[in-house]
Symmetry: C2
Subunit: 146 residues, 2 copies
């Protein structure tokens, strides 16, 4: 039975759920920052997922990366699986922009999170959900065509 | 024709070559720090690799992660695809230890690289090559058995 780590629950807001991962929005207005959490217990490293889950992770990570790079028009996507403080496997996917507050440095440990205000949060959640749904549908279509 | 980015060439030492990635050792004694560089031009994000290359990346990244976590007895492996400064796709795989200089923070931008001295470099290269060869062989055996 999967249980989300309390620290991840505290720092993030639920967005969508894929077959493997919960996709959660980091509560930080500085960057569109999504966290993928595979719903598997006692896994710390990507290679510890079984082969089928690793395939699925690749797919879900690709959808989120495309949503950020193309849909959100990021200049670069930063992906990171760190987990030094929170041992439950979770993978950061962050849309980076040439004019964001930390560019070109990595975001980690740079600035304290600036929580979303309610109006902007609703807009961001809606935009991301729409983009993820669109990208996910294209993916299913490609798969069905095979 | 693949050409390694000059900055990556400057910061790292060649170690081994898989079918997709060059595996290079960051010239920084602070941590066993490997960089996987897919030998494909004009790719900035993992999702931009074609499906077969993504599969292969997963395999090669898994070998390196296991080598660091199990072979090098890391407490945690940190994986990161950033590329804000060097646009050529390259993915950091870093063995982290509870007593390393930056723990539990990410290593990026923390401390200046401390180049290997010649004796320690030879030891480290030999150890990593042996571990990678062992892990790679196990992998091939599993694949042959299927």
């Amino acid at each position: 039975m999967f249980k989300l780590h309390p620290q991840l629950k505290h720092d993030t807001l639920p967005l969508v759920q894929f077959s493997l991962c919960q996709v959660r929005l980091m509560n930080d207005m500085h960057y569109p920052w999504l966290i993928l959490v595979p719903m598997r217990m006692d896994i710390q490293e990507l290679y510890q997922l079984n082969a089928m889950d690793q395939q699925q992770f690749l797919l879900e990570s690709g959808v989120i990366s495309k949503v950020l790079r193309i849909g959100m028009q990021a200049d670069k996507v930063n992906i990171a699986a760190l987990g030094n403080k929170v041992e439950q496997l979770h993978v950061h996917h962050i849309a980076r922009y040439h004019n964001d507050i930390a560019w070109p440095e990595p975001v980690f440990g740079k600035f304290s999170a600036q929580p979303y205000d309610q109006d902007y949060l609703i807009l961001m959640q809606q935009k991301l959900k729409t983009l993820i749904q669109q990208e996910g549908q294209q993916l299913r279509m490609r798969w069905q065509l095979r």
